[in-house]
Symmetry: C2
Amino acid sequence: SQKFGELYENQKSDLDRPLDTFLRRHIGPSKWDIKVMLKTLGYDDLETFIESLVPRNVLERKPLHLRAPAKGYTEQEMLKHLQSIADKNNYKARNFIGKGYYGTFLPPVIQRNLLENPGWYTSYTPYQAEISQGRLESLLNFQTVVSELTGLPIANSSLLDEGTAAAEAMLLSFNASRKKKLNYVIDSNLHLQTKSVLYTKAQPLAINIIEVDASNEESILSALDDTGTFGSMIQYPGTDGSILPINTLSKVSEKLHSKNLLLSVASDLMALTLLKPPSAFGADIVFGSSQRFGVPMGFGGPHAAFFAVVDKLNRKIPGRIVGVSKDRLGNVAYRLALQTREQHIKRDKATSNICTAQALSANIASNYCIYHGPQGLKGISQRIYGFTSILAKSIITGKCKHTLLNKNWFDTLTVKLSSDTNSRKFLDEALTKYSINLFAVNENIVSLSLDETVTKSDVISLLKLFLDEESVPDFNVLPEFPSEIRRNDAYLNQSVFNKYHSETAMLRYLHYLQNRDLSLANSMIPLGSCTMKLNSVVEMLPITWPQFANIHPFQPVNQVSGYIELTKSLSLDLAEITGLDAVSLQPNSGAQGEYTGLRVIRSYLNEKGEGARNVCLIPISAHGTNPASAAMCGMKIVPIKCLQNGMLDIEDLKVQAEKYKDKLAAFMITYPSTYGLYEPVIKDAIDIVHSKGGLVYLDGANMNAQLGLTSPGYLGADVCHLNLHKTFAIPHGGGGPGVGAICVRGELVKYLPSNIVTNRTVSRASQVTSVSSAEFGNALVLPISYSFIKMLGSEGLPFTSVIAMLNANYLRKKLEPHYKILFLESNSDIGGCAHEFIIDLRGYKSYDLEATDIAKRLQDYGFHSPTLAFPVPGTLMVEPTESENLQELDRFIDSMISIKQEIDAYIGGVSVGNVLKQAPHSLEDLICSEDWETRGYSRESAAYPLPFLKKNKFWPAVARIDDVYGDMNLMCTCPAVEDFEEHTE
Amino acid sequence: SQKFGELYENQKSDLDRPLDTFLRRHIGPSKWDIKVMLKTLGYDDLETFIESLVPRNVLERKPLHLRAPAKGYTEQEMLKHLQSIADKNNYKARNFIGKGYYGTFLPPVIQRNLLENPGWYTSYTPYQAEISQGRLESLLNFQTVVSELTGLPIANSSLLDEGTAAAEAMLLSFNASRKKKLNYVIDSNLHLQTKSVLYTKAQPLAINIIEVDASNEESILSALDDTGTFGSMIQYPGTDGSILPINTLSKVSEKLHSKNLLLSVASDLMALTLLKPPSAFGADIVFGSSQRFGVPMGFGGPHAAFFAVVDKLNRKIPGRIVGVSKDRLGNVAYRLALQTREQHIKRDKATSNICTAQALSANIASNYCIYHGPQGLKGISQRIYGFTSILAKSIITGKCKHTLLNKNWFDTLTVKLSSDTNSRKFLDEALTKYSINLFAVNENIVSLSLDETVTKSDVISLLKLFLDEESVPDFNVLPEFPSEIRRNDAYLNQSVFNKYHSETAMLRYLHYLQNRDLSLANSMIPLGSCTMKLNSVVEMLPITWPQFANIHPFQPVNQVSGYIELTKSLSLDLAEITGLDAVSLQPNSGAQGEYTGLRVIRSYLNEKGEGARNVCLIPISAHGTNPASAAMCGMKIVPIKCLQNGMLDIEDLKVQAEKYKDKLAAFMITYPSTYGLYEPVIKDAIDIVHSKGGLVYLDGANMNAQLGLTSPGYLGADVCHLNLHKTFAIPHGGGGPGVGAICVRGELVKYLPSNIVTNRTVSRASQVTSVSSAEFGNALVLPISYSFIKMLGSEGLPFTSVIAMLNANYLRKKLEPHYKILFLESNSDIGGCAHEFIIDLRGYKSYDLEATDIAKRLQDYGFHSPTLAFPVPGTLMVEPTESENLQELDRFIDSMISIKQEIDAYIGGVSVGNVLKQAPHSLEDLICSEDWETRGYSRESAAYPLPFLKKNKFWPAVARIDDVYGDMNLMCTCPAVEDFEEHTE
Ligand SMILES: Cc1ncc(COP(=O)(O)O)c(C=O)c1O
Ligand SMILES: Cc1ncc(COP(=O)(O)O)c(C=O)c1O
Ligand SMILES: O=C([O-])O
C-alpha cells in the first residue's frame, strides 16, 4: 500500500488535479514538522513508526473503499457536492407537521455569533470551570428558563432529546420506588416517538407500560390505583393538541403523591409561556424539547431536551447541572454541580448513562429567550395561539365538512376528515396547492401545529384548504388565551432576560460570554479520550443552509432525498471504515450508542433463544458510561482486571468468561485501550469471548488511532459505536451535540433501531424500536462527518491516525524525562503510546499536591488541561490529535516542563512552588489582591511563566472555584431580579 | 405626521402584522430608556425634544416614499426579498472576463473568521493604535506582501481601487515635477477603466494624457523625450495579456530617471509571484488590485488597491501606512505612520484626498497570503500560467481558425476571431454552450483570463470553443514560466507567511489578531463624525452569498438584473431621503463622493459657459477631505470663518461670496455642522451662494441627524454625498470599505459618472467619465444599505435620527456639569447638540495635560476614544448613535466622570492623577512593571477604575505608543525571517 510519506510530501506539480487538499489543512504538522518529530522519536519514516506501534496481527492497512475520490474532495468540490445533495431536500415547504418539531426563527445575531462561531462550537464540556464561565453562565440561563417556565426549582442543562428525557423521567420514577413496582401508567396522548423510546427503555428492566386515555379521568385514576404502579406520565398539551383540565391533573398528582409516587409531565416551553405551569398541578418532573426556541428542525436534531424536578429530587436528576459557587477571591463563579450523581462516578450504580448532552442547542435556546425576553416570548406564543384559534374557530363554525377533534388547543389541531377524502389525498392537496406539509394521524385524521413562522398568508392558505367557502377572518383582533388555563404569574424577571433586546446589546453579551471560554480558536485542548481536533469551516457551513436546517424529521421520504442520500453514503463509509456491515446513525451520543449496541446484542441473543445471557464483562479501565449503559440494558456487570502494566488481564478474562459461560452476553472493550495502548492481546481476548458464546462490543471512542490501519471488524468485534463528535470532526459544542453511530456485523443488522413514525429504515425484528425520538438522531450535524470523510478520502484518513499518534508520541517522548508516563516503561514490547498517554502525578499526593493543581496551573499557561482523573485517578491523559502542529506541541511541552520545575520547587519547600496551589490566576487576583508580598512568587511568574504568554494568552475569568461550597449551597438558576427594576420603574 | 412615541411604544397586539420589527433591534434604547432620557433632558416627549433641536425652517418631516413597507420589512421578510433579487444575477457562469477582476477562492476559514466576524468588520480605522494592534499587524502583513511582490520598499495599506490608485500615481508624479509639466505618457495597454479614471482626474488639473503603444519601443521612448512630459505609466502584464520585454522597460525607466521623472507600473500581484518584480526594471511606483487574493469579485468592489514606491517617495505616498514603533515598555507596537502627509493635516495642500480606504479587503488579501504561503501562491500562479499556456499553444498550433494576438502571457489571451464569426456570436456560444463569459475587446477580438478557480474541465470547454478539433492536451505536465521574465528571488520568507498553513493555525492567528482589537462587539465606539452604529447580521449575510459575491462587473446587463434592480431601488430611496433627484453609487468613499460632486458641479458650470467659476468656499470647520477634494478638482479654496459660538460666520460668507461672485463655483458645507450643531442660518447661507451663481455642496457625513426630519434637497443643496458607511450601516471594516454615494438636483443629473466598459448608466455629457474602476464602485456592500433602509421603512428611519440625537443629548447633559461642552452655552437659541457634541479639553493644556491623555485613559475604561482633535484640536467629539442603550451610555458617563476626578487630581498635583499620563495600561505593564511603588496610583485604580470593569473589560494590547520614534525610524513591512528557518532547516 501507498507510503504515508509520499502522500503528504511529494505533491507532484501537474495540472491534472487540484493543488490544495483538505488533508494539508486538517493536519497540523508540516512536512518539516513531521521530519523533526520522527527524528526525535528515532524513526526514519512514518512506516517504521507505525509498524513499531501497532501490533503485527492488528495492523491491517486494507485500502478503504469510500464513496469519494481516493485523495478526497477539495473544499470547493465538497461544497459543490453538498449543495447538490442539499438541493434534493424540499426545504421550501411550510412544515406544520408539529409533533415535537416546529418552525422557528433563529435570530441572525445568534446564528452568526454563536452557532457559526468557533469560539462557541469548538469548546469542550465545561469541566474546567475557570476557563468556561461563558458557557456555564449561558447554561445557567437555560436552566433558569426551564425552571421559570415549568415552575420547578431544579433544572439540568440539557438532555439528548424529548424521547430520552421521557425515559429518564420513567427511570427516575422507577428507581425512586426502589424498582419494586413495575407498572408505568402513561397517557396515550404522548407523542408517538416518545412512547416508542419509553417502550424500548422499559423492556430490559421488565417495566410494563400501561397506556391510558388520560382525558378519561376515571380511567387514569383507576390505573393509578393499581399497587404495581410506580409512576405516571402525561403530556401537556397532548400530542393531539388538547389540554387536560387542571382539575384532572391535580387529581392525578394527588393520587400519586398520596402513594409517594412521581408524576412526570411532557410539555412544551412555548406553550408554557401562556399555560399554567405544571407546578400548578403538582408535577414532580417536567421535560420536553427546547427546539422551538430558535433551534433549526434539522431533520430531528440536535435539540436540547429540558428536564426539571421538584426540590426533593435534586440529587436524583440526571445529566449535568450548572451551579453557582464562588472562586478563591469570593467572586460568583459557575461550575458543574453535584458531579457525584453522574455515571463517571457511579458507573453501574448510575441511574442514567448520559455524558455528552446538547450544550450548543441549549445555549441557542437560552439566548433566544434573552433576545426576546418574557414579553417577546409571550408575544410569539399569543400569535401562535391566535392564528390557531382563528383556524380552529373557522373549522368549527365555518362552512367546513371536517371535524375538529380537540376541544381546546395551544398550537395544534387534530381534524377528522369528511368521508369523501382521506389523509393521503388531503396531504397531497395541501402540498401541491399550498406547499404545506401536515401530519397524517391515520387514514382519516390529520393534524397540524402552527408556530412562530406562521404568517397571515399561511393561515389563509389553511383556511382555503379546510373550508368550502372563501373566508377572510378578522386579523385585527388577538384571541385571548382561555383564562382557566392561562398563567398569571410573572416569569423571567431576572435581569439577563430583560436587557439584551437590541442587536447591539445581544451581540456584546454573546461576545462577552465567548471571551470567557477557552476554545480551539485559542489553543490546543489536549483532552485524552475526547479527540479535540479541527472542526473545519467547510464541514460546518452546510449545517446552517436552509436545505438541511429547515427539514422536519417526519417529512415524507420523497421530500428528504438529500438527507437519505447523505445518511446512506455516510453509513456505507462508516461500515467500510469499521470493517462491519451496517450502521445506525440514530444514537445521539456515545453512551446512547453503547446502550443501543448492547440492546442489539441482547435482541439477537434473545431471538436465538439465548435471552438468559445477561452478563457483560467490562475491564476496570472502562469509561463510566460502559457499565452504566450495560446496567440500563438490565445486564449484570462483571469487571475484568487490568495488569500492573496497564494491559488487560487476559487470565482474569479467561476465568470470568469460563465462570459465566452460560450467562455471557457481551464483552465491552475500548481499543486502543482507555490507557492509550495498542494492546497486543486484543484478538485473543475477542476469541475467548466468542468461544464462550458472548459477543464483543468495541467502544470506538479511540477510533482516531485506527482509521485505515485496523478496524473493529478486522479485530473481530461484533458491534462498535463511533463518537462522530470525536474522530469524525463534529465539534464538541461545549458539551454536545454528539453522534454515537453504531456499526454491526451481519447477523445483527436486523436489530438496529427504527422509527415508529417514519418507519423508513428497513427490517426490525426486535424490541429496539427507537433509542432517540428522531430516526437519524442529531441529523443536522451529520454533514460534518460526511464532509470530513469525503474530503480526506481513503488516502487521507489513515494519515490522520498516523499523525495523531505521531503527535502523541512526540509529546510523550519530550515529557518522559520530566514526568512519569504510565504503563510504557513496563511494556518494552510496544513502541509507544497510541494517540494519547497518561501522565502519572500520584507520586506528588504525599506532598499534598494533586493532579488538579497541575491541571489548573496549565490554565495559567493558556492551555486547557488534559483529561483529569480518567481513566486513572491522580493522572492527566493527554491527546493532541492530528490537527496540532509542532509549534503548539512545543509550547505545551515547554509549559509542562516549566510546571515540573514548579512542582520540584513545591515539594522541595521552595516558596515559588506555591504558585501551583493558587492556580489559576485571574486578572483580578493578579491586579487587585493585596497579599502578593507574602505569596512567595511574583505576579509575573504567576501570569507569564513563559515568554510566549506575553504576546498571546487566554486568561481564566475567575480564580480557582470552590466546588464543595457550591454543592453545599445548591443554586442552579440565575440570581433573581437585580437591576431590571430600575429600568421598568 | 405620526408621533415618534406611538411608533415605538404602543405596538398594538394583533395578527395583522409581524410581531418583531427591525427597528426594535436596531435602536439601542428601550422604551423605558427613552423615558428616562427624556426626563433627564426635561422633555415630555420626543416631539417637543426634536422641535427644540431642529430649527423651525429646517424641520420638514415630509413622509418618505420609500420602496418598502412603511414599517419596513422584518428581518425574515428582508432575507426572502433579497434572495429573490439575488437569484436574478447569473452567478453560475464561469467568468473568464478578467480585466482586473478574477475568480478566486476565499478560504472558508478566512470567510467565517474575518469577513463574517463582527470582531473584524465593525472596527474603526486604527487611529487608536493601542486597541487596534490586530488589524495593524494584519495591514502590515499586507504592506509586506506588496513590498515583497513589487520589489519596492514602501507600501501603503490600501487605496480604493486600481483606477484611483493609477490616478494617485499620476498625481504623485505630477506633484513631484512641481506641476510644471503637463504631459503624462501612458501605455495604451492599460485597462480601459484605468485609463478612464486617469482622464477624469487629469482634466481639472490640465494634465494631457498621451497614449502610446509601449510595445513599440521607439514610440514610447520618443514620447518621453518631450520636455513637457512629467512621467509615464505602463501596465505589466498589459490588459491584452502580453508582457513587455524587461529590456524595453529598463530603457523607459532609465530615460525617465535621467530626467528625474517617475515610472509608474500597473501590475498584478498574482502575476508577480512568477514574474520579475517591477523593481527589476526601475519602477518608482507600482500599483494594482489585490482582489484576486481571496476577495470576491462582488460586481466590482470592494477591492483593496495596493501602492508601493521607492524609498525616496516615502513621504509622498498617498494613503495610510502602518509602521512599526514601540510602546512605553519598549515592546514592538504598530501604528499609522507619517500622518502629517494626510489630508486631515494638509487640507488643500494635500496631494490626495483619500481617507476611508479598503482595510477589510486588504486584510482578506494578506491573510490569503498567510494561508497559502509563498509556495502555495506560486503553486496557484503556476497552474494559472499552465492552463493558459495549454490553451494558448492549442490556439497557435492546433486546428484553430482564430489568431492569438499576444506573443506571451501570464493568464490572459487576446484572440482575433476568424472572419466567419464575430465577438457577439462567439460570446453567445461560450455562454450558452459552456456557461462561460469572455470579454469582447471589439467586434472581432475577444479576450479571456484564467484564474485560481480554473479546472481541467474549464480548459476542455475552452478548447472546444476555440478549436475545430477535439483536443485532449497533456495535463500531466506543468508548463514552465519563461526564464527571461521569471523571478528567481525568494519572497515572503517572513515567519508569518510560513507558519499558519493548517486551518487550526490560521484560525488561531485570526482570533489572536481579533482579540487585540476593540470593535462594536466589545463596547460603544463613540466617534464623532463616524457614526459607529449597528451593522446588523441580516444586512451582512447577503454579501457572502455567491449570487452577489461571484459577479464580474463586466458581465452583460442581462446577467446582472439582481444588482441592477437593487442599485436602482437603493438610488431612488436615497434620492427620496436626500430630497434630490438622482444618485450615483460609484464613489467608493466619502472623499471620492466629494470629488465627484464637485466635478459634477464644474461640468455643469462648464457646459453653461461658466467654466471660469472655480472658487470653492469652505468653512474652516470642514473635514480635511473637503479642501483636499476641491483642490484635486482644480478649485481655489476660500475659507469661511466661524463665529466664537461655533456658528458659520454668515457675514464672512456674504463678504466672500460677493468678493468672488464671478468666480464662485461652490460652497461646501456639512450639515448639521461638523461641530454637531443644527445651524439655523443654513438656508440663508445657501440663498447667499445661489444668489451669486454658485452651487451648494452638502457634505452628508452627518446625515444620521437628518433622516426624515429634513434633507439636503429641502435645505436647498444642489449636490450632497452620503457616507453609506456611516448613516446607512455599512460597517467601517477597520478602515474601509466605504460608499460615498452622491445625490444631485435635476440639472446636474446628466453629469453623473458612467463606466467606459459597461456603459450602462444613462446619459453622460461630461468629462466625469469614471471616478472608480467599476460602475457601482463597492457594489458588494450595497445590499447592506439597501436592507438598512428597507427594514426601517419610512416610519423607522426618522426615528433612528431622533434617537441618535436623544442619545447624544443625554450624554451631553450628563457630562455638562463635569466638562466644558463646546458652543452650546453660547447658543441659547438652540436646545442642544444634534447627534454629536464636542468636549473641550484645551483648558488643561497649560497643566501639560493633552486631549490625547484623556483619550488614552478611556481605553483603560474599555472604551474606544471619541474623535480626537477633529474638528477642533484639543477636543474630543462624541457621537453615540442610535444603537447604544442607556446602560452603555451610563457606563460611558460614569467613565468620563471618573476621568474628570483624575484630571482634577492631576492638575491639583495629586499623584493619582498620573494615571492619565501613563494610560493606557497594558496587562504586561500592570503585571510586570517594577515601578509601581513610585507611580502614585495603584494597579487596581489603573486597571479597574470602576467596578463594572472587573466583570468585563477590553484590554489594550500594548502600552502607549511612541509615534515620534516610529516616524523617525520608518519601517512598514514585517520584520524579516525569524523562526522560519528553524522549520525548513
Ligand atoms: C471511552 C469512552 N467511551 C464512551 C464515551 C461516552 O461518549 P458520550 O460522551 O458521547 O456519551 C466517552 C466519552 O467521553 C469515552 O471517552
Ligand atoms: C465630515 C466628513 N466629511 C467627509 C469625510 C470623508 O469620508 P471618507 O472617509 O469616507 O472618505 C468624513 C469622514 O470621516 C467626514 O467626517
Ligand atoms: O477622518 C475622519 O474619519 O473623521
